[in-house]
């Protein structure tokens, strides 16, 4: 009898643990369902917001030297990589309200590491032409990855895109880059603040060098493109995310779907 009681207790505790584990699993996987794929009887229509031209939200285009890059953890905005600017020249639009901005990325307090590959990387001492929007997202205030590095190749100025490719053209249709990466970014995760080296020798031998825009031509082109698109140059802007933004939770875009031909908005 005593043995039977012990067994029932063990079974009962085990069952309780099982329920707790299952319950915690449900909490962790809230709302998760097996997906069997879209049905084959035709896709429904879903909401689509009017497409924005990448320049249609640009309020400010500046050229500046990155004087310092460092990382800190912010309770609300998470791991941040801070970028300090100096020698700021406003090419179009609003003057910057401050000369420091930050991007998401870096170590978490628990030792984990956050990385956002789409964000531009900045190197201390290098000069950049930067496009800013009305306000920063939790990721960055740099709009649409429009961060261009200015360098010299054989006494000639050139402009490089966020991945280190020469810029050959810039207009309302987009940016045309050269084929080669000319900025060497370290692949080592721990070196996320290390300077990014410009390969001047490879640049001098790059077949795209003759077609590369000079900084002056680039600035002329970006001003013209921004004006053509009707960019809100000069409107108020902020380099900081709004106060209600937190780094790890954000709203998605609710979509209503309907049958083809009766779009719901």
């Amino acid at each position: 009898m005593r043995m039977r009681y012990i067994w029932s207790t063990i079974v009962g505790v085990a069952a309780s643990i099982g329920v707790l584990v299952a319950a915690s699993g449900q909490i962790e996987d809230k709302g998760v369902e097996r997906d069997w794929g879209p049905r084959g009887d035709g896709l429904q229509v879903e909401d689509r917001y009017p497409p924005h031209h990448p320049l249609a939200d640009v309020t400010s285009i500046v050229e500046a030297t990155v004087s310092r890059v460092w990382n800190e953890y912010d309770e609300r905005l998470g791991p941040r990589i801070y970028v300090a600017l100096s020698d700021v020249v406003v090419h179009a639009g609003t003057s910057l309200p401050e000369t420091t901005f930050s991007q998401l990325g870096g170590p978490l307090p628990n030792g984990n590491f956050v990385e956002v590959i789409e964000l531009p990387k900045f190197s201390p001492g290098a000069r950049y032409i930067l496009f800013f929007g009305r306000e920063a997202s939790v990721y960055t205030p740099v709009w649409a990855r429009l961060a261009f590095r200015v360098e010299q190749v054989a006494n000639r100025g050139v402009v490089l895109g966020p991945d280190g490719n020469l810029v050959r053209r810039f207009d309302v249709n987009g940016v045309e880059f050269g084929a080669r990466h000319l900025i060497l970014a370290p692949s080592e995760s721990a070196h996320f603040l290390a300077p990014l080296t410009f390969d001047a020798k490879a640049a001098a031998e790059d077949p795209d060098i003759a077609k590369a825009l000079t900084p002056e031509a680039f600035v002329h082109a970006i001003k013209r493109a921004a004006q053509e698109v009707g960019a809100p140059l000069g409107e108020p802007m902020s380099l900081r995310p709004p106060q209600d933004v937190v780094w790890n939770v954000s709203r998605t875009s609710p979509q209503q779907v309907s049958r083809e031909g009766s779009e719901v908005k």
Binding site: V32, R34, S137, G161, G174
Partner: protein, 347 residues
């Protein structure tokens, strides 16, 4: 009446002149490292789609499904067959890999943004693994399949390929400038007519990070890379032509699978519809050799066959004999951006 010689001159002048191109930069993929070791997932993991912003049976659902299936077929790491609805939020740091559509302003104007959380690389002997990946996609993109032959670099319809690109980040791939979906310079290439899928370089990168998958797939493309820019293989528009006249046609075939393929049938042909992938009039028929994870773009001078006067589409197809068993049999044929108006030049 149009004289044959003048028509020939129009054809020759109008056709995009691409010299015989055979280019293959399919080892250009990049990835992050910890102590020289690639940063990847330690084992396969689950990715869930936000049903709130990407509802069931919507175009974004279809694009998500196709992207996940293609990556899974190449590297069995991201089990995409799951969805969630957590009240229209996406959360980083909750241990769940989520994909959702968000306002463009939330991702600073980008097409997509992937937040990777890794377990750190604190010591000289450490190995670092990805422990979470959350994908945000711009909600103002179209997620309908696009006709790759008319794809252009200013297109806003890049939703399907944006998902494939961001899923590449989610498994550990970084950017490249090659003929690949992981390139940053728009447009990323499509394949097989209207499919967004990993290109050979992307697939090579995925298989390097996650070896052991032996999937096979060939595809046709109407795009090529020239001086770092992706463009249509042939200039869009209708060209005038005569029966028996010559035509320069540029086309791409690729193998994003893990096995070398040789002796597979290829066919270039004309037909009356853009998606008429069988029948028609053959311009060239032969076989191709495509090593695993490679592609080639080629220009061939072809003779226009004796066809009734009219407008024709130019198409090409690989694995014509169905001799290769592929995980995706729907991406083997494509039409050119160029059409032909064949005239009765002898009349």
């Amino acid at each position: 009446m149009i004289r044959r010689n003048s028509v020939k001159a129009i054809v020759a002048g109008g056709v995009f002149v691409a010299s015989h191109l055979v280019s293959n930069d399919a080892r250009a993929y990049t990835y992050s490292t910890c102590n020289g070791k690639p940063i990847r997932w330690s084992s396969s993991t689950r990715m869930v789609r936000d049903r709130c912003s990407m509802p069931n049976n919507s175009p974004s659902h279809s694009a998500y499904w196709d992207a996940g299936w293609n990556w899974w077929s190449i590297a069995n790491v991201l089990d995409w067959k799951w969805s969630y609805d957590d009240g229209c939020v996406i959360t980083a740091g909750n241990g769940r890999n989520e994909t959702a559509r968000v306002p463009r302003s939330q991702i600073s104007g980008a097409l997509g943004m992937t937040t990777i959380i890794k377990d750190g690389c604190p010591f000289w002997f450490s190995t670092e693994y990805i422990i979470e990946a959350d994908i945000k996609l711009a909600d103002d993109l179209s997620y309908y399949p696009q006709d790759e032959s008319f794809w252009n670099w200013s297109s806003q319809a890049s939703g399907p390929v944006a998902i494939v690109h961001e899923m590449g980040h989610a498994i550990g791939l970084n950017h490249t400038s090659s003929f690949a979906v992981m390139r940053t310079q728009a447009p990323a290439p499509l394949a097989g007519g209207n499919t967004a899928e990993p290109y050979p370089d992307d697939a090579n990168g995925a298989r390097f990070l996650y070896p052991g998958s032996y999937s096979v797939n060939l595809f046709a493309s109407a795009q090529m890379i020239d001086s770092g820019i992706i463009m249509a293989t042939d200039n869009p528009g209708t060209r005038l032509a005569c029966r028996g006249g010559k035509l320069n046609l540029t086309y791409t075939f690729a193998n994003n699978g893990a096995s070398d393929v040789s002796g597979t049938g290829v066919r270039i042909f004309m037909n009356t519809g853009p998606n008429s992938y069988s029948g028609g009039w053959t311009l060239f028929s032969g076989t191709a050799v495509l090593p695993a994870g490679s592609y080639y773009t080629k220009t061939r001078t072809l003779t226009i066959p004796s066809v009734p006067p009219g407008t024709y589409w130019l198409l090409w197809k690989i694995d014509t004999g169905n001799s290769t068993s592929e995980y995706n049999e729907g991406d083997n044929a494509v039409h050119s951006a160029m059409t032909l108006l064949v005239l009765d030049c002898d009349a």
